[in-house]
């Protein structure tokens, strides 16, 4: 089955084989333009920059399609190319800033526009609301110490909830476990932390 509903793997195979290359390339572009636009937009690029970066990504795909051997999923291979393209654009922008040049991209709020991979010092400033509330009550250190004493999976669930502000479904996805497992782990963690921290833990919700 050719066309919009055709499986990605078949389209990619035709593109690699050179048979109907024009149509295959166009189909891939049509399928992944939207996801790529969302990705670059989420990274803080302007609409015009998104357009350029999408083209750059597909140019790399076009040139390097022979390097795709099917060891990983096609969309993951494409995502790697897109992420590298975005990182390169960020490095270009940072270099231009250091050189005092005009930066072609829209200036956005640093926190909003920062790349996903950031340095450690910015962690506290971007801490999620539950953690900030704890810090305000001078309970952060106490909680951290208590969390480190939890069992491994329970500890990871609490960290993702408290320090990264993820909900249960997101925690399950990151840790590749069932949401119900996360729920159970969090329930147990809450009990243990309440026992350890006593009244100090009453204002905190996991």
């Amino acid at each position: 089955m050719k066309g919009p509903g055709e499986p990605i793997e078949a389209i990619v195979k035709r593109l690699r084989d050179g048979a109907g290359r024009e149509e295959s390339f166009r189909l891939l572009f049509e399928r992944f333009y939207g996801p790529l636009f969302r990705f670059f937009e989420h990274r803080g690029f302007s609409t015009e920059e998104c357009q350029d970066l999408i083209q750059e990504t597909f140019l790399r795909v076009y040139r390097g399609i022979e390097a795709f051997r099917g060891e990983s999923r096609w969309e993951h291979w494409l995502f790697r190319i897109a992420a590298n393209t975005a990182s390169k654009a960020w490095r270009h922008r940072a270099a231009a800033k250091r050189a005092g040049q005009a930066v072609p991209w829209e200036e956005k709020d640093e926190e909003e526009a920062a790349p996903v991979v950031a340095d450690e010092s910015s962690r506290d400033a971007r801490a999620p609301a539950p953690l900030r509330r704890l810090l305000d009550k001078e309970m952060g250190e106490l909680l951290k110490q208590a969390v480190e004493g939890l069992p491994v999976q329970m500890r990871r669930c609490v960290r993702l909830r408290v320090f990264q502000d993820l909900d249960y479904d997101e925690i399950a996805e990151v840790l590749q476990i069932a949401p119900s497992t996360v729920k159970v782990q969090m329930f147990k963690a809450r009990k243990r932390l309440q026992m350890e921290l006593g009244r100090s833990f009453t204002s905190f919700e996991l």
């Binding site: 399928r31 636009f37 990705f39 083209q55 990983s72 320090f163 996805e173």
Partner: protein, 299 residues
């Protein structure tokens, strides 16, 4: 803290990591918002692709056309495709868009040519009007110059006529003056003293202005001052009227006219009017006109 890295994170996402490495990645993810964020981006990307997210339609078409232009030229396989949806199967090429485009191009060219011609004609008309205006100004200035020149010529002619009249009047006026006495005009070479003049000096005149001698005089004295001029043995004096008729003539020996004493000549009996006095030097048979002067007798 070393980050997981995208390749490893994808392997984790695809469940391809061994258990120990998977544990390490999970531990890191629980501590690292950046790597967790990257994992979530990967998840969102998958979801958007699976959900058939198309993105903004006009921008997508624009990006595709731009992308095709950037593709390597050596591969002619990929060319811009009209419309957002890819073709299901090859179809006979529709030439209508090409014809419409060509017709539109011709129409635009004709319109553009018309606009260009109109604008150019307006510019030419404007320039021509300016030139005509300048020409009219120059012609006006030239006519004014002609008028001024003619006026100046008229004034010059009038001035010349006036000068002529003045000269004529000047020549005629001494003759018209009536007097019972005789005045003598004096040349640079000699001087004439009025006989009845009260004065002590010599009366001198020139070719234009006669010397007026007082009316009381009965005669006059001629004295020559020859300076470096040769001295003659004899001098002849001749007094004529305005018509050239000789009224009196006399000869004086050499040196008799020289010096202040001069020689006395009676003018009694002459009526008022203009007369001339000729003085010639005579040496043997040779004679030379030394001077001829106008004399006016006043009333």
């Amino acid at each position: 803290m070393t980050h997981v890295g995208l390749k490893r994170l994808i392997a984790y996402r695809e469940g391809k990591l061994p258990p120990a490495e998977r544990e390490a990645v999970q531990e890191h993810l629980s501590l690292c918002p950046q790597c967790t964020g990257l994992l979530r981006e990967l998840r969102d990307f998958e979801a958007a692709a699976a959900g058939g997210e198309t993105g903004p339609e006009p921008l997508r078409q624009e990006a595709w056309e731009s992308l095709v232009r950037r593709l390597p030229a050596k591969d002619p396989a990929v060319r811009p495709i009209a419309g957002a949806a890819p073709r299901e199967a090859p179809r006979p090429r529709d030439l209508r868009p090409l014809l419409y485009s060509a017709a539109a191009a011709v129409l635009l060219a004709v319109l553009g040519l018309g606009v260009w011609a109109t604008v150019t004609a307006q510019q030419r008309r404007h320039e021509l009007a300016q030139l005509e205006r300048r020409l009219a100004e120059r012609e006006g200035a030239l006519a004014a110059a002609h008028r001024s020149l003619a006026n100046a010529e008229r004034q010059l002619a009038a001035a010349r006529g006036h000068i002529h009249d003045l000269e004529k009047e000047q020549r005629a006026s001494p003759i018209a003056v009536a007097s019972r006495e005789i005045a003598v005009t004096v040349a640079p070479w000699f001087a004439v003293r009025g006989q009845e003049n009260s004065g002590s000096g010599l009366l001198q005149g020139d070719a234009v202005n006669p010397v007026r001698i007082p009316a009381r005089g009965k005669g006059f004295t001629v004295a020559l001052s020859l300076a470096d001029h040769p001295v003659y043995g004899e001098y002849r004096l001749e007094l004529t009227d305005r018509n050239g008729e000789v009224l009196w003539a006399g000869r004086r020996p050499g040196r008799a006219l020289l010096g202040d004493m001069g020689t006395s000549i009676s003018v009694s009996g002459l009526g008022p009017g203009l007369y001339r006095l000729r003085i010639e030097g005579v040496q043997g048979k040779r004679s030379e006109l030394l001077a001829e002067y106008r004399l006016a007798v006043e009333r």
